[in-house]
């Protein structure tokens, strides 16, 4: 037996495809978001409110990742936007090759904003670059104020945190101070928005965040 030194990062193959996805999207001036949250935090609701508020002036498209069903895709198709559904079967996250295949089905010349709704999971998606411009982490108030401390990797890798369902904060005894303290400890530079997709609190701030980044992508 001989010992063979390899030193290869096991995510390298994924990262290579992610880079080519990123270059393709950048060349078309498309802003791409990778939305990561637990199941039920409100990713699809966020996309619905985003479609409504951006209106027809911004051409949006969505890649939906779910273990099973096309229910989220059906909710978004009502807005008349292109939606590609990826059913991952047993896989707990999307990877760059799945996104690369989905990109081939989208009319890239007619898209300004592409949202990738990852599989509802706060663990595995954090490790896989898809080629997105920004990672948006969502957390919802009923999940509890300890969620950030419990899932630190995704907090560290996120570019924006959206805390949804703020209208339920009182009923859930949600402690904003715990959230702020954990955020300070884990990723003090992370911007965050308090939001309720139901009452539309914080939606203006979210739309402004998006528009500022879309202006840069389109250049």
């Amino acid at each position: 037996m001989i010992r063979i030194k390899v030193g290869q990062d096991l995510l390298k193959a994924n990262d290579r495809i992610a880079r080519s996805n990123r270059e393709l999207l950048r060349s078309r001036g498309i802003l791409c978001l990778n939305l990561i949250s637990s199941p039920g935090a409100g990713k699809t609701s966020l996309l619905e409110v985003t479609c409504r508020r951006l209106g027809p002036g911004v051409r949006m498209a969505v890649i939906e990742g779910d273990l099973a069903t096309d229910r989220d895709a059906a909710r978004l198709e009502r807005f008349g936007i292109p939606v590609v559904q990826i059913n991952t079967g047993t896989a707990c996250h999307l990877d760059a090759s799945m996104v690369s295949a989905a990109l081939e089905e989208l009319p890239l010349g007619e898209i300004d904003l592409l949202a990738i709704e990852n599989v509802g999971n706060l663990i595995c998606p954090a490790g896989w670059d898809l080629g997105e411009s920004y990672r948006v982490m969502m957390l919802s108030v009923p999940e509890g104020h300890d969620k950030l401390a419990k899932y630190p990797l995704v907090v560290r890798k996120a570019d924006l945190l959206v805390v949804n369902k703020t209208d339920l904060a009182e009923a859930c005894d949600f402690d904003w101070d715990v959230l702020a303290r954990d955020l300070e400890a884990l990723n003090p530079a992370l911007e965050w928005i308090r939001m309720s997709c139901r009452t539309e609190e914080g939606v203006d701030e979210w739309i402004a965040w998006l528009r500022a980044r879309m202006d840069v992508s389109a250049r």
Binding site: M1, I2, R3, I4, K5, V6, G7, Q8, D9, L10, L11, A13, N14, T90, A91, C92, H93, D95, I123, C124, A126, G127, A149, P152, L153, R156, R181, D182, E184, A185, L186, P188
Partner: protein, 114 residues
Amino acid sequence: MHELALAGALLDALRDSADERGIRRIGRVRVVMGALSCADPRALHFAFDVLKTQDDRTEAAQLEIEVEPARARCRHCRHEFTASWWQYRCPQCQQFGVELEGSDEIRLDWYEGE
């Protein structure tokens, strides 16, 4: 489930290297996993043992996983220490606000073959 994808990537990397070097049988396989990688060594062992039997070259491979601690530094007193997992409080000044560096990668370090 995440570890299943990692085990698949590990076996792909082993097979690519074995092809390149004309290796027909693989023995010990050393993987270094950062303490912050969020992958579970036991689950990776299990997935590896299930998938390795699909190829004669990897059938008898034995996986060894070394968990590499993270480098940590306090943002307040600049104390440097190693963290085995996510640590939020500096052991020296007891304040919150620890910067953790690297240690989220998983790499195939070396393997033995003939």
